[in-house]
Amino acid sequence: MKTSSLLKSAALVLALFGASARAAAQEPVRAEPSANVAAEHASPCEEYAPDDIVSPHITDSHCLELPSFPRFWVPHEVPLPRWEPIVVGGISFDMSPTRHVVMLLLASTLVCLTLILAARSHRRHTSMIGRPKGFSNGIEAMVLYIRQEVALPNLGHHGEGYVPFILTLFWFILFANLLGLIPYGSTATGNIAVTGTLAIITFFMVEIAGIRANGIGYLNTIFYWNKELPVGVREFMFLLMTPVEIIGKFSKPFALAIRLFANMTAGHIVVLGMISLIFAFKNIWIVPAPLLMATAIMVLELFVSFLQAFIFALLASVFIGTIRAHH
């Protein structure tokens, strides 16, 4: 009996990822505000199926959710301005600010505030007592860790010029990740456009680093031409390995983009799935269990936020270091 109920609940979770009609037919008994609002009140700006509680949380929107009082579980939805798309070369760029754009701007503002204020108090403390203390000391520890333990060893000799890029990647992704965990927030790094752009920037940084470090030898990272091989084998390997090299160049940033996007999205879907269990069971006594599980997943999400920012920065420095050391 026990195993069958377990199987049933597992199937239910899976079903709810697609948001079954059965779950939303019921009024939510008790849930986190960010979980039930969208199910109850579909956004006027974005049209979702009334039973779809997952999509509004993991997709972008032209509306901003702000706290409202006293019914804080019903967010105050603010429509963002809509601009005419700019068409460049047949591709239409809709530059209207979306929720994720706001989150990115918020994240970068917070990063700037945090780091610049930390740098200032760092300097003040350093001039006063010869060392930083408190918060700026903690920021220094994180900055220094990324710089000394992650970036510089992987970037190789004279890699100091790429350190600000790696550090910015880490802090920007970290803050964007964390903004997705707070109420009314949204995970911009759970959007393939954001992670894809970061990966494309990394791709260009890697290639530019390769050109700067190897000069004309950069072509060796594209065309496989091993002079140690005998003449016939050399041409054969050239034909075989060159596509592999080129695919490798694109697969690395692609993996970066998908890794960050999937990690950020998956965590939110799991949390929403946990909350949905309450509606699926239609039983008030079941509430503590999904809430506990969702809380545990949120704690895991907090860890994953740091981990994925770290991994993105680490892999970016590894890629840059690898191409710089290419011979």
Binding site: G18, S20, I91, F172
Partner: protein, 193 residues
């Protein structure tokens, strides 16, 4: 069995609904506008942060590292210098201690020598005084003997005079006694020596 059937049914529903959703909104379809936004925001962020945050922090940390290295270096130098000074002082102390020992030994030797000399000198003086006393005794003795002899001669003469006064002339007798006494003295001195 019923549970399994239910599960399969639910999964089918999930699959169909998910498929239906995908038509409306795809997670994997990037919005070009957002990409441009991300690019701009990230580029500006790199610029601002490297100029106002990472630069100063790194500079401050490097300055502090340098200061620390300098402090460690100077501390090492100071310690070496102190060790050198300590060794020097120890050597000086050892040297002065040895000197003191030598001085004491020298003084002891000198004192012993002086004492020995004084004892020797005392011995010599004593011997000299002994000799002198002995000489004086001899002289006095000789003087006394000659005195005694003259007294004896006078006495003898006086005695003999009294005896001979009656019958003999003074001069002839006196000569006789003198010659006799001379022979006696010569004999006495020879026997006493």
């Amino acid at each position: 069995m019923r549970t399994l059937r239910n599960a399969v049914a639910l999964l089918t529903i999930a699959a169909t609904t998910a498929g239906a959703e995908e038509v409306k909104k795809s997670l994997l379809e990037p919005s070009y506008g957002l990409m441009v936004w991300t690019l701009f925001i990230f580029a500006i962020l790199v610029f601002i942060l490297s100029k106002y945050a990472f630069g100063p922090i790194t500079a401050a940390v490097e300055a502090r590292e340098k200061a620390l290295e300098d402090a460690i270096e100077s501390a090492r130098r100071d310690r070496e210098e102190a060790a050198k000074l300590l060794a020097e002082h120890r050597a000086a102390l050892d040297a002065s201690r040895g000197e003191a020992q030598k001085l004491i030994a020298d003084a002891r030797v000198a004192a012993e020598r002086v004492a020995a000399e004084m004892i020797e000198k005392a011995h010599a003086d004593q011997a000299q005084q002994l000799v002198r006393a002995r000489q004086e005794i001899e002289t006095e003795k000789a003087k006394a003997i000659s005195e005694l002899r003259r007294e004896a001669v006078d006495l003898a003469i006086a005695g003999a005079g009294k005896v001979i006064e009656k019958n003999l002339d003074q001069a002839g007798n006196r000569q006789l006694v003198e010659s006799f006494l001379a022979s006696v003295t010569a004999n006495a001195v020879a026997t006493s020596r």
